[in-house]
Symmetry: C2
């Protein structure tokens, strides 16, 4: 598994469902067979420029800055 493939998966995941923290992202990736830890996900998020956006309902959700 390459880093690029994982990063694509991360992008797909955050837009297909509300990911509220990095641990959830790790869980989803693991359930898709991608072995990854929080440290790596944090780096992926940084490289991808993703942000954790406060939602109107009081929760948080990771998203791409432009939408």
């Amino acid at each position: 598994m390459t880093r690029r493939q994982r990063e694509r998966a991360v992008l797909e995941l955050i837009q297909s469902q509300p990911i509220k923290n990095q641990q959830h992202l790790v869980s989803e990736l693991l359930s898709r067979g991608l072995e990854v830890t929080q440290a790596t996900v944090s780096r992926d998020i940084k490289r991808l420029g993703l942000v954790k956006v406060p939602q109107p309902d009081g929760s948080y959700r990771y998203a791409s800055p432009q939408g």
Copy 2:
């Protein structure tokens, strides 16, 4: 000092200079005479919907989602 006034100051600050974490925001507010702690700033950020954006240079900066 009302919450609204402080929130306006927060918005002005994040767009006038690169605020990289909440402690810096607290420092800037304190230097402007606004007494505030990290807990409160965290709540302000949440209410305002601000995000911490990874920058190309590897740093982070708080910003408003739409820009």
